[in-house]
């Protein structure tokens, strides 16, 4: 479903190569995890896929269901079914959470030639999803992420994912800044979305999140490349031996 081939990416401002030929395919219905030390290029990969400015793709490709996503605007990628949960969800004072989600959902639907969802159906949908994530209805009325705790922000990301129902979900360090209870709640929300037609790419530094969102495939990323791929046991190996050991093993 998501196919990344020999992807090479440099920073636009300083001619520095961050991704040095990434190859990765996520199949529908599967959860892939990318683990790696800081600076390995994990977050850059997620940003490049989501379409953030500031990166130059110098070689390679990334397609979602065969569509070249790298040539699309960020909103077109979203409409095509790509969703990235941010490591640091942005606070946007003045823009209501509900207004935002409804605008996003209907813009995506419109882009796909689907009918827009009316206000009452939308409200019903959001309330139901929010309840599962133990999100206070008051939080929905507030401006996007404004004054939210770390846990609330991440739950809000998962809420948006549940409402938008993307084909391909990328979770960028979703566990960062979360305590165990918050992490469990977020993982539960993500697990509820696992299904045959949906793929996941879970990016994380630590193995602990993967206890709650169990991956089918684990990749180790280092210095801008995938250096090792294996099953869930690979995550446990990282936890026990650390990245240095694996890197040394590959060298």
């Amino acid at each position: 479903m998501l196919d990344i081939k020999n992807l090479k990416v440099s920073l636009e401002e300083e001619d520095k190569e961050i991704l040095k030929g990434v190859d990765l395919s996520v199949e529908a219905g599967k959860v892939h995890a990318i683990m790696g030390p800081n600076g390995s290029g994990k977050s850059t990969l997620s940003y490049v896929l989501a379409g953030r400015d500031g990166y130059d793709v110098t070689e390679g490709s990334a397609t979602l269901d065969g569509q070249d996503i790298l040539s699309m605007e960020p909103e077109e990628r979203a409409a095509a079914g790509l969703f990235m949960a941010f490591q640091y969800p942005v606070e946007i004072p003045g823009v209501g959470n509900m207004t935002f989600m409804r605008t996003a959902l209907n813009a995506q639907r419109k882009a796909r030639g689907e009918e827009e969802m009316n206000a009452s159906d939308f409200l019903k949908l959001v309330r139901e999803k929010a309840k599962d994530l133990q999100i206070d209805p008051e939080m929905l009325k507030r401006p996007i992420n404004t004054g939210f705790s770390g846990g609330e922000k991440k739950r809000n990301e998962v809420l948006q994912m549940s409402v938008l129902q993307p084909r391909m979900c990328i979770l960028d360090e979703t566990d960062s800044g979360l305590d165990v209870d918050a992490m469990k709640l977020v993982a539960k929300g993500v697990n509820a979305l696992r299904e045959q037609n949906r793929g996941f790419l879970v990016i994380t530094h630590y193995q602990r999140l993967l206890n709650h969102i169990e991956p089918d495939v684990v990749h180790i990323m280092a210095e801008g490349r995938i250096v090792k791929t294996g099953g869930p046991e690979l995550a446990l190996q990282v936890e026990e031996e650390g990245y240095e050991h694996i890197k040394a093993e590959m060298a």
């Binding site: 400015d53 979203a78 969703f83 946007i92 004072p93 003045g94 823009v95 935002f100 813009a107």
Partner: protein, 430 residues
């Protein structure tokens, strides 16, 4: 009288001559008009080297000839059209009785200025030009004095109690070269309340003055929109004096217009009074918008807020000159002032001159001024969820303006203003 540089005096005389002199039959306003005329001559009309006009060129507001302003063609529903209100219509600055409602409503008396001057209305005689004159120190406002001297039309409103619905002054612009001067006087008796709405461009060039005397415990709410005609020019002055525990709240929406200067001169003279002035302005290209505000605290425990937001695009210019003066003895003053601009491109400019002058030792005053572009991080976040760039930009623009719009107390009026802002953004999106 100080001798003025020749050119300034010439310009002032040329403007006075072009206006055809003081209105005849000025009645009780005669003394006030003569006084104002003398003030205009003493001060001279503003010119670009005047410090108070440093950021806004006054030439086109002062010159005898009115720069042409094309009429806006629109099939849009009129602002406040859905609000139950008493309508008073002016066309190019002249009262239109046929288009207006009967000027009768419980809780107040309304007279047309042109008629009221024939009758002896002692309270209006005491007020007409009075607050304008008080507002001339410490900063001269010659265009307001010019208005007091020469304005031929306007309304005189005496509010004696609670008023069942808002009064709406509607300003139509039907001539491309109209030059309007309107002078309104509003007096609220103790405990009385009024919501005053104003909308429309008024004329190719407008000089508007409103004097509002808010007695103890009275409540004045003011919401105004200045029309969407691209080439119209306007200078307006709102003078207000607040008694004990009274409230004055004024919000202005400005979209388009070649040149707008809105001055608010507010004096808190009774304890525990509150004055809020706010504005949202949006324009592009040759749009020039200036908010000049002077709030004087001369009593204890008063609160004042100045909240001004501007969205500028395509080389538009925004100006804010705002001052809070806290006089000796005005203890426990709570003063707040913020002026911000959102610059949607590199060509637009914002000039801000926030000032605090405090002579009391137990006060809390804060002010801030910023100017910046759309937050790229936030824009990306919205787009990454599927919101197209233009809509995301609009959402953030509305969010930016929200703090000013929220100063409008009435929810219906607030929603009306938000709808207008959305309309402006949508039209620009094409």
């Amino acid at each position: 009288m100080m001798a003025q540089p020749q050119t300034k005096q010439d310009r002032t005389e040329a403007r006075l001559a072009s206006a055809g002199g003081r209105p005849s039959g000025a009645g009780w306003a005669e003394t006030a008009r003569d006084g104002a005329l003398a003030r205009v001559r003493a001060m001279g009309l503003p010119e670009k080297r005047d410090e108070y006009w440093k950021f806004t060129r006054p030439d086109t507001l002062v010159q005898p000839e009115v720069p042409e302003a094309a009429l806006l063609e629109t099939d849009e529903s009129p602002v406040f059209g859905e609000v139950d209100r008493l309508k008073i219509v002016f066309v190019d600055g002249v009262f239109d009785a046929d288009a207006s409602d009967d000027l009768e409503m419980s809780g107040l008396r309304i007279e047309r200025l042109a008629d009221a001057t024939q009758a002896d209305i002692h309270w209006a005689r005491d007020l007409y030009g009075t607050l304008e004159e008080r507002g001339q120190t410490p900063v001269a406002r010659p265009l307001a004095a010019l208005n007091t001297a020469l304005a031929r039309d306007g309304v005189v409103i005496h509010v004696t109690g609670a008023v069942p619905k808002p009064v709406n002054l509607i300003y139509r612009h039907e001539s491309e070269t109209s030059d309007a001067m309107l002078h309104h006087v509003v007096k609220l008796d103790a405990g009385a309340s009024l919501t005053l709405l104003e909308n429309g461009p008024a004329a190719a060039r407008l000089n508007g003055v409103m004097e509002v005397d808010v007695a103890d415990g009275a409540n004045f709410q003011h919401v105004r929109t200045q029309g969407r005609d691209h080439e119209r020019r306007a200078v307006t002055h709102s003078f207000a004096r607040l008694g004990t525990e009274s409230v004055f709240k004024s919000f202005t929406l400005t979209v388009n217009g070649r040149l707008t200067r809105n001055e608010a001169v507010i004096e808190l003279t009774g304890d525990d009074a509150a004055a809020h002035v706010a504005g949202a302005a949006m324009g592009d290209g040759d749009f020039h918008h200036d908010d000049t505000v002077f709030v004087t605290h001369d009593a204890e425990r008063c609160e004042s807020r100045q909240v001004f937001k501007k969205v500028l695009r395509g080389g538009a210019h925004g100006v804010f000159q705002g001052k809070i003066l806290v006089k000796e003895g005005a203890q426990k003053t709570d003063g707040y002032q913020i002026s911000q601009s959102l610059l949607l491109d590199d060509h637009s400019q914002f000039f801000a001159k926030p000032e605090l002058e405090i002579y009391a030792d137990d006060v809390a005053c804060s002010h801030g001024s910023t100017s910046g572009a759309i937050d790229e991080e936030a824009l990306f976040y919205l787009r990454a969820r599927g919101v197209p760039k233009d809509i995301a930009t609009d959402l953030m623009t509305l969010a930016f303006l929200a703090e000013a719009v929220e100063e409008i107390e009435d929810e219906t009026l607030r929603d009306e203003i938000t709808t207008r802002l959305q309309g402006w953004l949508e039209r620009r999106r094409g």
